[in-house]
Subunit: 295 residues, 2 copies
């Protein structure tokens, strides 16, 4: 077995993502010699103890990070600022600070100003998840075969970046690197806008007269169902994502709304050629996915 | 074996839906004593002959319907008016005229004025399909366990309605009845709006700079993919659906757009409570589907 990447790896937050990392570390042994877990509520701390997925469970974040050579924030991105305020003074020199948050510009905004010069910040975003949350939802295979995007700030230490990259490779992921702004734009269109649309169409259906709403549930298989699959996601996490990737999400929403209205206008005025062109583009993108075996 | 429901059943259009009906009829024997198939192009007629899924293949729609006690239009809804003009004078007295079109108000508009008083019109819409089309795409199990919605006009002969209902039950479907306007409103939200959104978001992605578009295809698993699943559907069929359910589609699009913009506004102004409420409603509808085993 390879040497563990970290002597003491501290996970702040042990929900779906944090507890999955803990489970991989436990199963493999070559990620960390010891895993320390911290969460907000006594219930979660207790549950993590019962599950036995961490070597130490520590209620105080400042104590949890003490002596750790690796710290990964696994909390909703809206909690980064207060969490960082609590842990920053206690981070060990030489420590690599990483995270798993779904927005990355906000991570630089919230963490970089408070990061001690002796600490290396290497943000990461595993593109893996389910609609469940909490320490019981995690599993060691979650990251297998999924992409993990690193967004190291300019001038990041290549050794620290490689340590986090290797952590994710050992979790089974394919590692990619890009800058935070590109990440946020790409995720806005591939993930955040689809979720925004899914939440919205569910709300639109929910507002319909009782009778029609019943019918929507009954005949959902006709297309609606596919749109709601991602609408079961966690409230806090998605609120934080929308608020912390505000600009890119609003830009993609504006583009999408314009395009939807242009199609609506063509329907209103019976412009068959325009409608056909839009449908044909949908098919083209779909074919692109199938060719890349992403469909 | 039960007596066949029809002596001579004529299918106008033998693509995905028409050829699936032909295959069920062939497999069961109790739907029609003889199936006559008509299509637009010589290539399709020839293919149907090769497949051996109809007893007779007839290039002329007027001759195809002659002597048939059942006729089902299985063509895109935009072709109903010219097809009906060609067949109406040749429909046999006592014949039941049905269809499988995805919009139903347009069917009454296009067929009812030309329907002879001796012919019973019983429109139907099987909620079953794939993204493939043509006579090779059909299969006998397509309608198994799926809903089929009948929209008989006021005063329709109950015996004729029951014959079409029984045809669909023998195809394996659960039969429901509603008026055409309700059908069109329900389908607008469960099917037509989701397709409109899917075509649109693919177009929005297609318009992005080359680099971002590549990334969209690469990271599609993050949500985008689910939205494109239904975007591979047939161009002619969907153009006709949008144009023939114009009012209901535009109304649902307007409601949805308003709701999406309200959520966008809340994101812009950081209104966490509003955002949480919208996400929670998405989860609620999703739970409704899961409880009904529709998810
Ligand atoms: N779920 C996904 O699909 C997914 C995918 C990729 C990335 N992510 C990102 O991963 C992160 C965690 O998501 P998740 O799905 O694992 O969430 P989760 O299952 O809800 O877990 C969140 C964890 O964060 C803890 N926490 C919340 N606020 C905290 C605070 N102020 N101090 C300390 N701990 C706190 C929670 O503790 P308590 O239980 O005690 O409240 C819980 O352990 C988020 O940033 C999210 O954007 C999620
Ligand atoms: N696909 C679905 O998911 C689905 C689901 C439920 C209902 N529907 C409805 O079912 C109907 C047929 O759809 P489909 O998927 O079976 O389409 P399809 O596979 O494209 O087949 C259409 C058939 O109609 C024929 N046709 C077209 N115009 C014609 C004309 N003017 N005269 C005679 N035949 C003509 C075509 O003949 P050629 O091949 O010779 O051109 C072809 O045989 C549509 O009204 C659609 O709304 C479809």
């Amino acid at each position: 077995m390879a040497e563990p990447l970290f002597e003491r790896l501290c996970l702040i937050g042990v929900g779906l993502i944090g507890s999955s990392i803990a489970r991989v570390a436990r199963a493999r042994g070559d990620i960390a010699r010891a895993v320390v877990a911290n969460a907000k509520t006594p219930a979660t701390l207790q549950r993590v103890r019962e599950l036995g997925i961490a070597d130490e469970v520590e209620a105080d974040p400042a104590r949890a990070v003490r002596g750790a050579d690796g710290v990964i924030l696994c909390v909703p991105v809206g909690a980064y600022a207060p969490v960082m305020e609590a842990i920053a003074p206690h981070l060990a020199p030489g420590c690599v600070l990483s995270d798993v948050g779904s927005t990355k510009g906000s991570v630089l905004r919230d963490l970089l100003p408070l990061t001690p010069s002796t600490v290396q910040l290497v943000p990461a975003h595993p593109l893996a998840g389910t609609e469940h949350s909490g320490p019981d939802a995690g599993f060691a295979e979650l990251f297998q075969g999924r992409y993990c995007i690193l967004t190291p700030p300019p001038g990041a230490d290549p050794v620290a970046v490689e340590r986090i990259a290797e952590l994710w490779r050992r979790c089974g992921s394919m590692v990619e690197t890009m800058d935070a702004a590109t990440h946020d734009k790409v995720l806005a269109i591939v993930s955040h806008l689809p979720h925004l649309i899914a939440f919205t169409i569910c709300g639109t259906a929910d507002d319909l007269a009782q009778e029609t709403r019943e019918a929507v549930l009954k005949y959902a298989a006709s297309g609606f169902r596919d749109f709601t699959r991602i609408a079961a996601s966690d409230v806090d996490m998605w609120r934080d994502i929308f608020l912390n990737n505000r600009e890119a999400v609003l830009e993609m929403l504006a583009r999408f709304t314009e395009d939807a209205q242009a199609l609506g206008r063509a329907i209103r005025w019976g412009q068959a050629a325009f409608i056909e062109d839009r449908i044909a583009r949908g098919r083209k993108i779909r074919r692109g996915l199938i060719e890349r075996k992403q469909a």
